[in-house]
């Protein structure tokens, strides 16, 4: 069963719902990854443990996200079934202590390697943020 754009959009939606909307814990986010001690590699800065990612999103409210355009999906192998997915996610939020404050608005470059496990679920093998591009009117945030 090939890994499709729809699979990746669904994975992106589920993971970002978990981290941004449901404010899931690091342990809950780890369920999306093949390896329990995974990191989010931020190419242009400090990498994030899942705990650090959790803490970033604890500082934000009103978070929304969506996939921009389509993902570029490159099949890698059949056994295990793996693909590389490269795409962009729009991310918006607001600092928790600035309820009427400016919105954080950002395009996030995503470069993932995913694997379909025997249950049929997709898991992140490698999760890379290749860029963060903040919009000109975006509120500042420290990602590192």
């Amino acid at each position: 069963m090939a890994i499709t754009n729809e699979d990746i959009v669904a994975l992106a939606s589920a993971f970002h719902d978990a981290s941004m909307v449901k404010k899931s814990t690091a342990a809950e986010m780890a369920e999306f990854f093949l390896y329990p001690e995974s990191r989010i590699f931020v190419l242009h800065g400090g990498d994030l443990t899942l705990q650090a990612n959790y803490e970033i999103h604890q500082k934000l409210v009103d978070e929304i996200h969506w996939t921009v355009g389509t993902w570029d999906i490159t099949p890698l192998s059949d056994h295990p079934e793996r693909a590389r997915a490269q795409g962009i996610v729009y991310w918006q939020g607001r600092h928790v202590d600035q309820a009427d404050g400016a919105l954080l608005k950002c395009y996030v470059g995503e470069d993932w390697v995913v694997e379909r496990v025997s249950s049929g679920e997709l898991k992140f093998v490698i999760y890379v943020n290749s860029f963060h591009r903040f919009l000109p009117d975006a509120a500042p945030i420290e990602i590192r």
Binding site: Y35, E37, R39, F41, L43, H44, G45, G46, D47, L76, S77, H79, P80, R82, R84, V113, E115, V125, I126, V128
Partner: protein, 155 residues
């Protein structure tokens, strides 16, 4: 101080000497990495821990390696990071096999590296994007001797 191709060649040599030539344990390999217990990602599956990498090389002898070429792309200044995409040639022999029975492969790499304040380069992410075994290589992908490295070609 920009991260140069020479820096990457030196890092590759130092790390691969540790792994292949001196066959050092995971605690020594760990010194080359920024994060604790880093996986060695094999893009097509069979990712390895440093312990598994150590055990794989324990099965081998007469290992040699050299860089084939690297493209180095600066990523950021603080911290100083670069992406290094390239390959190294790898040659080895399974212990107990005839001296002519050599494994020969090009190993393709995609590394993110970071320079520490000490000046040292560390691996942030170590991704092996593929192995291509030479036509006269003693083994290739799926060889039944216990060494298991996915390759782009099967014989």
């Amino acid at each position: 101080m920009a991260i140069t191709r020479d820096d990457i060649v030196a890092l590759a040599k130092a790390y691969l000497d540790c792994v292949m030539v001196r066959q050092e344990p995971p605690s020594e390999q760990q010194k080359f990495f920024l994060h604790r217990d880093p996986p060695l990602f094999l893009l097509r599956g069979e990712d390895m821990t440093l312990q598994q990498n150590y055990e794989l090389h324990q099965k081998l002898t007469d290992e040699k390696h050299w860089s084939v070429g690297w493209d180095v792309t600066p990523l950021c200044d603080k911290p100083e990071r670069a992406r290094a995409v390239g390959a190294f040639y790898w040659q080895a022999r399974l212990k107990g096999r005839p001296e002519t029975d050599l494994i020969k492969a090009y190993c393709f790499q995609d590394w993110i590296v970071q320079r520490l304040p000490s000046g040292e380069l560390k691996f942030v992410a170590y991704i092996n994007t593929g192995h291509s075994f030479l036509p006269d290589s003693a083994i290739s992908d799926g060889h039944p001797t216990g060494i298991s490295i996915r390759g782009e070609s099967s014989r």
